[in-house]
């Protein structure tokens, strides 16, 4: 399969825009693994993905990994899976715990950064660190995706260059893990917004 065949259903103008884009994903769990799969299929040129965790059995309820990958570092397993989808995205993975020091370095070249963490503290650290360093670069975060149902309250809120996807109200319920459908929806809201931001001029320039 060559590149032309992979992208044969697309207007070449879209393909070149996507292929020339670099997107950062901070976290490779429920959100990050789903976002990475969608953006790989969409044809993003380069993904930079970081996570320090290894795959546990309880991750398989919502994360894009397989039984035989349990115990493997998430970024290594994700790289393996993404390569099976497309060779037309370049993958740069970091098995590292992100913090105030390394976030601005690892993600310095991205057009858009996506927050895909599990813990609220980490979400806050990433958002604050990002805008202290890169106030003009978009960051797409997620907040409020636990439980099931309630499609109608999921939304995207724009605050300057920060975008929040989720319901912004459903707290993590003790004893109930986030579940595949709702995490997947929010992950794909984030991925969908990446395409919107990258291709926003496409409709206007079409004619």
């Amino acid at each position: 399969m060559n590149k032309k065949e992979f992208f044969s259903a697309h207007d070449p103008k879209i393909v070149s825009k996507l292929q020339n884009s670099i997107i950062g994903i901070a976290g490779a769990g429920g959100l990050g693994s789903n976002i990475a799969v969608s953006l790989t299929r969409a044809g993003i040129g380069k993904l930079i993905i970081s996570d320090f965790d290894k795959i546990e059995p309880s991750n398989l309820n919502r994360q894009q990994f397989f039984i035989d990958q349990i115990g493997t570092p998430k970024v290594i397993a994700l790289l393996e899976n993404l390569k099976k989808i497309s060779r037309f995205t370049e993958y740069q993975v970091h098995e590292i715990k992100l913090n105030e020091e390394n976030i601005p370095i690892i993600y310095k070249d991205v057009d858009i950064l996506i927050e895909a963490f599990d813990k609220a503290e980490m979400k806050k650290t990433l958002i604050e660190t990002w805008f202290m360093n890169y106030p003009n670069k978009p960051l797409i975060a997620a907040s409020g995706l636990s439980g099931w149902g309630k499609n109608e309250i999921l939304h995207t809120r724009k605050i300057d260059n920060l975008y929040i996807c989720g319901d912004e109200e459903t707290n993590l319920i003790e004893g109930i893990s986030p579940m595949a459908p709702r995490v997947g929806i929010v992950a794909n809201m984030q991925a969908n917004l990446v395409l919107e931001l990258l291709l926003n001029n496409y409709e206007n320039n079409k004619s």
Binding site: G27, G29, G30, L31, G32, A116, F117, D118, K119, A120, E121, K123, K124, I127, E128, F131, M132, A141, A142, S143, G144, L145, S146, I159, D160, L162, I164, G166, E168, E169, T170, N171, L172, P178, V183
Partner: protein
């Protein structure tokens, strides 16, 4: 009446109104927040010292675990 905007709500402005007062008036009890005032990030150690002016645009983003 002088007001400020907090997310999409209108709130009565007060003398020496800082972030702590705003969160209290809005009954926001969330723990993990990102706050912006007129587009500028305000960190937790600046909540008390950040006094808002009438017409200020305050955004409170509540971060919830799960992902």
């Amino acid at each position: 009446m002088k007001t400020i905007r907090v997310n999409e709500n209108s709130l009565k402005w007060e003398e020496n109104m800082n972030i702590i007062v705003i969160l209290k008036r809005m009954n926001y009890t969330f723990r993990m927040l990102v706050i912006k005032v007129d587009g500028k990030l305000v960190k937790k150690n600046e909540y008390a010292s950040t006094i808002v002016q009438p017409g200020a645009d305050v955004k409170v983003i509540h971060l919830i675990s799960g992902g």
